[in-house]
C-alpha cells in the first residue's frame, strides 16, 4: 500500500480521550466514563448545549459512593425534567448513578484535583474536554452541526430532518459548512458556484442525524449527464428519496480579474426549473426502478435580497428581509399533482442588516 502511515491508528488512539481515561484510571475509569456520558445525554436532552453560555463541569468519581465535594448547597436531582428549572451556569454536576445527580449552581472548582480520583468533563465555549489523573484530552468534533458530541438529534423522517435543518442551521447560516458560501460577512452575496458546498452541508447533516437504514450519497447519476444532488436509500424498506437543491440570490465572482463583479443571479424561476428537473428524475427513476417507492424533495436555499448592486456593502432590514415571507409560486404544481413529489422546502437565509 502506498502512502499509508501504518502507525497512524496508534498515534490516533493515544490522542483520544477514551484511551486517556483508560490509561489514567483503567477499567474503573471507563465504567465511570460510560455512566458520565449516559448522564450527559440525559442532561443535554433537557438543556441544549448551544444554550450553555458558561461552564458546565460534570464528574463521576471512580468510587460511586464518594462525595468528594464538601460544598454546601448541592441539590439532588432524580427527575431530569426539572433540570431546565434547576440549572444555572456555571454549575458542577456529580453523577451518582444513571438516575441521580447532585447539582451545585454558580460555582467553579479545582477540576484538575478532582480528576485524580474521578473522570471529569467540562463544556466551555463549545469546547468539550475530559480530565483523568494528570491528563486531559479534547473531545473530537464529529461534525459542524454538532455543538456537543453527546447531544445529537436524530430523525426517522426525512421531511422532519429537512425542516430542522431549515430552522436550526440554514436560517441564520449557523451550519459551518453552509456559512462558507457567502461572499461577504453580512450574507448579501453568495460566492460563485456554491452548489458543491450546499450539497455537502445538507449531506453532512443528514448523514449524522438520519436513523434507520438511510444511506445518504451525493451526486448519484440518474443518466449519463444528470446526477441528482443527494440520494437517500433505505435499503430495508425499498424506499429512496431524491433531493434536488437550488439556490436563489445574487452571486459574485471570487477569483481572477472579475473578482467582486456580479456573477449569476437566480430568481424564483430557478426554483421552477428545479421542480421540473426533479420531476424528470422521478420519471427516470420510475422506469429504472419501478418497484421502489420514491419520493422527491426540492430544497430551495433562498438568499434573495432587494436593492443589490455590485457596490452594495450593507442593506436595511426592509431590503434584506423583503423576500423572507415571499413564497414561490410553482407552475406546474408537481407537489399537488404527483404523490411522489413532496412540497418544496424553501430555506430563507437571513442576512445581517444595518438599519431598519
Amino acid at each position: 500500500m502506498t502512502g499509508m502511515n501504518l502507525q497512524a491508528i496508534g498515534e490516533f488512539a493515544a490522542s483520544h480521550y477514551m484511551a486517556m481515561i483508560a490509561e489514567a484510571h483503567g477499567d474503573a475509569g471507563v465504567v465511570a466514563l460510560r455512566q458520565l456520558i449516559g448522564a450527559l445525554h440525559a442532561f443535554y436532552q433537557q438543556i441544549a448545549p448551544e444554550l450553555c453560555r458558561s461552564t458546565l463541569t460534570v464528574f463521576r468519581p471512580l468510587d460511586p459512593t464518594l462525595r468528594p465535594l464538601s460544598i454546601r448547597g448541592g441539590r439532588t436531582i432524580r427527575d431530569f425534567m426539572t433540570l431546565p428549572a434547576d440549572v444555572r451556569l456555571p454549575c458542577v454536576v456529580q453523577v451518582v448513578s444513571e438516575r441521580e445527580l447532585i447539582l451545585w449552581n454558580g460555582i467553579q472548582i479545582e477540576y484538575q484535583q478532582l480528576a485524580e480520583h474521578s473522570v471529569v468533563y467540562r463544556f466551555e465555549e463549545e469546547i468539550e474536554t475530559f480530565y483523568a489523573g494528570q491528563l486531559s484530552r479534547p473531545v473530537p468534533r464529529l461534525g459542524p452541526t454538532q455543538c456537543s458530541a453527546f447531544a445529537h438529534p436524530t430523525f426517522r423522517d426525512l421531511a422532519q430532518a429537512l425542516e430542522v435543518y431549515r430552522i436550526t442551521w440554514a436560517q441564520r447560516s449557523s451550519c459551518p459548512i453552509l456559512s462558507q458560501v457567502w461572499y461577504d460577512s453580512d450574507r448579501l452575496f453568495i460566492k460563485s458556484k456554491p452548489e458543491d458546498t450546499m450539497q455537502e452541508a445538507l449531506c453532512n447533516f443528514l448523514r449524522m442525524t438520519m436513523r434507520g437504514s438511510a444511506e445518504i450519497r451525493r451526486e448519484q447519476p440518474m443518466d449519463e449527464t444528470h446526477p441528482i444532488d443527494i440520494k437517500v436509500t433505505w435499503f430495508l424498506l425499498n424506499r429512496i428519496a431524491l433531493i434536488e437543491i437550488k439556490w436563489l440570490g445574487q452571486s459574485k465572482h471570487t477569483e481572477g480579474p472579475r473578482r467582486g463583479e456580479l456573477a449569476t443571479e437566480y430568481s424564483a424561476s430557478r426554483a421552477n426549473d428545479g421542480a421540473r428537473q426533479l420531476a424528470g428524475y422521478l420519471d427516470m427513476n420510475s422506469v429504472r426502478s419501478p418497484t421502489q417507492v420514491t419520493q422527491g424533495y426540492l430544497v430551495v436555499i433562498d438568499a434573495r435580497r432587494a436593492g443589490l448592486s455590485a457596490q452594495t456593502v450593507s442593506l436595511s432590514a426592509r431590503e434584506g428581509f423583503s423576500f423572507r415571507d415571499r413564497e414561490i409560486e410553482y407552475t406546474p404544481t408537481f407537489h399537488r399533482e404527483r404523490p411522489d413529489f413532496a412540497p418544496p422546502i424553501r430555506m430563507f437565509v437571513e442576512p445581517v442588516c444595518r438599519g431598519a
Binding site: F12, A13, G26, H152, T154, R207, M208, L237
Partner: protein
C-alpha cells in the same frame, strides 16, 4: 433459528432501546456487525462468531439470521415494531434476562456491549458512516451486488489495525467501548484513504 443470532438481536434491541429509544432493524444488523468486529479485536476467529454477514448494494452489512430473528421476535411478542423500528417488550426483557444467565452467551455479551456502547459516544448515523468507510464495505462500492463479508483471506489490514490499536490502549482493557469508539473515530477520519488503498493494493497489505 440460530441461537446466537437470536440472543444478539434481542440484546442489541434492548441496549439501543435504552440509549436511543428504539432500534431500527437496519441498526440491529449494523451493531451485530460491529460486535463481530469487536470479537476480532479480542482475537477471536471470525468463524467463532456463529453467523455470516453479506453486504448489500447500498454498502451495508446484512445478516439473514438476524432478519429471521427480528421477524420471530415480533411474532412472539418479544419486540414491538413501528415503521421499521423495534422496541423490547416486558416479555422480551424477561427472555433476555434468562438468556443472559446462560454461560454460552457470557463472552459474546462483552463484544455486544462494547459495540452498543459506541452509540453513547457517536451518533448512529456516524457509526453507519464509519462502518461504510471500512475497507470491507468499501469494496462492495465497486459494484459487487452481494458478497459475504469478513472472509479471513481479506482481513489482513483489519487484524493489523486492531493489533496496533490494542497495543496503544492496552491489551488488558476489558471494556470494548474504548477500542470500538476509537476505531470508529479513526475510520471516519481516515476511511476514504484506507478504502482506496485496499482497492488499489488488493486485499493484503
Amino acid at each position: 433459528m440460530n441461537p446466537l443470532a437470536f440472543f444478539d438481536t434481542l440484546y442489541i434491541v434492548a441496549r439501543l432501546d435504552k440509549t436511543l429509544g428504539n432500534a431500527a432493524f437496519a441498526e440491529i444488523h449494523l451493531f451485530a456487525y460491529l460486535s463481530c468486529l469487536m470479537s476480532l479485536y479480542a482475537r477471536q476467529p471470525v468463524s467463532a462468531w456463529g453467523y455470516r454477514f453479506a453486504v448489500t448494494e447500498a454498502g451495508s452489512p446484512f445478516c439473514t439470521e438476524i432478519d429471521l430473528a427480528c421477524g420471530e421476535f415480533v411474532r412472539r411478542g418479544f419486540l414491538t415494531e413501528t415503521d421499521g423500528f423495534a422496541s423490547v417488550t416486558r416479555r422480551g426483557e424477561r427472555e433476555l434476562e434468562f438468556l443472559r444467565s446462560l454461560l454460552q452467551y457470557r463472552r459474546r455479551e462483552t463484544y455486544l456491549d462494547g459495540a452498543c456502547a459506541s452509540a453513547l459516544a457517536l451518533p448512529v448515523g456516524l457509526v453507519r458512516e464509519a462502518l461504510g468507510r471500512q475497507a470491507e464495505l468499501r469494496i462492495a462500492d465497486a459494484g459487487v451486488k452481494s458478497r459475504l463479508l469478513l472472509e479471513e483471506v481479506r482481513l489482513h489490514r483489519l487484524h493489523k489495525d486492531f493489533a496496533e490499536l490494542s497495543a496503544a490502549i492496552g491489551i488488558g482493557l476489558k471494556e470494548l467501548m474504548v477500542p470500538a469508539v476509537i476505531w470508529l473515530n479513526y475510520t471516519l477520519q481516515n476511511g476514504d484513504q484506507l478504502g482506496q488503498a485496499v482497492s488499489q493494493g488488493g486485499t493484503r497489505a
